[in-house]
Symmetry: C2
Subunit: 213 residues, 2 copies
DNA sequence: GCGTGTGAAATGCTTCACAGCG
DNA sequence: CGCTGTGAAGCATTTCACACGC
């Protein structure tokens, strides 16, 4: 019901507002928030319609109130627990980021097939063996997983995650996962995105040259 | 002119076709490629219209020919050179991936403000100091950069990159970059995406419960 | 019959433009 | 006035549906 892109931007706004609140800003106009987020003022206002909090024409929006309302809308009470599967470089990049930065999500456990990592604390997060995957996820009641393992293992492990009760996956493995419809999968395929950047950069350059005036 | 999403998928197809060619597959139907890529058959056919290569109703597409044609369309002759700015965990995750996996892009130099990394080879890629940024990029003629540094430095470094001739940036810093219009920026904000996954997973669960039959 | 290529319809998302209000 | 809230218009992307050819 809420547009996907809007959910992304609301999360972004929420983040920005938290920073603004910390730095003492009390009110903000749609065009200011738009500039920070890289959106248009109309877009910001449209997005904010879904949370039904009125701004004032003379003052804009109350930063603190807006941030509270957004958190309420986006996050569950107490925050969601997340499992990290695969503690390679990507996993290690994500851990500190979420542990310190994100209010609504906590990475509470990680898994790796490398036995040496088993039992170790990485950024305060216990690493378990892959054999404990289902049991640990079930016991802790985790619904969200980050999949950061080699492509060839991705499908199999993703299926195990779903069987263990996972309903949302952030997938970094460059493979399309075939999973039941009720599971929400979001792919981050960095290779594809970098290639898109290269292509689009070239394209937009070409367009400019072709139509100089 | 070519739709953005199509560019992404064409890259994905190209990747998949390379694998298929290696494994000896000679021809492929749109519905097979669609399944591998997580798209629909109609979408695949629509995407392939832009490269004007005909498939055959009885046999489908010639894998090798299609892959060649896609590479030709997507990549520049000899490949594009890429700079990696910030050799933290994200940077280290990307390096081996692109060095071994991507045909059209080569990370040829990296930069880090940590002086200890200066002059070292990381996965065969020389790491330079931030003071050498402009000069190195200009000399080697690099157009594409990956920005994987802390948010607070992102804007300033991005501006330096643009002044050095960069026209495409893949940005991992959780900040919207304000840059000239001719520079193509693609953001990967993992935090925002993970939060979206959590939200959408919850939403789609709720919808299913509300409309069970 | 079965799959391709493609106009035309449908969907989803963004932007415009303006009424309403402090 | 300048900014918010929002119908309506405009774009981008996806899906439908069917003519054509092996």
């Amino acid at each position: 019901m809420v547009p996907e892109r809007t959910v992304e931007r609301l999360n972004q706004y929420c983040q920005l507002l938290a920073d603004l609140a910390k730095s003492g800003t009390e009110t903000i106009f749609s065009h200011e928030l738009a500039e920070l987020a890289g959106a248009t003022p109309a877009q910001v206002r449209r997005d904010l319609m879904v949370i039904e909090l009125a701004g004032q024409a003379t003052r804009g929006y109350d930063v603190k109130r807006l941030q509270e309302r957004l958190s309420e809308f986006l996050y569950t009470e107490g925050g969601d627990k997340v499992a990290l599967v695969g503690v390679g470089n990507i996993g290690r990049a994500l851990l500190p980021y979420f542990l310190t930065y994100r209010p609504g999500l906590r990475i509470v456990v990680s898994f790796d097939k490398n036995k040496e990592k088993k039992g170790r604390l990485l950024h305060g997060c216990l690493c378990r063996g892959m054999d404990e995957l289902e049991k640990a996820i079930r016991n802790v009641g985790i619904r969200i997983a980050i999949l950061a393992i080699p492509a060839e293992d991705a499908q199999e492990v993703a299926e195990r995650l779903c069987n263990a009760g996972i309903t949302g996956i952030l997938n970094f493995a460059p493979r399309h996962l075939m999973l039941p419809d009720h599971v929400w999968v979001e792919n981050i395929h960095m290779g594809v995105v970098l290639e898109k950047v290269a292509f689009m950069a070239r394209e937009s350059l070409r367009e400019q040259e072709e139509a100089p005036a």
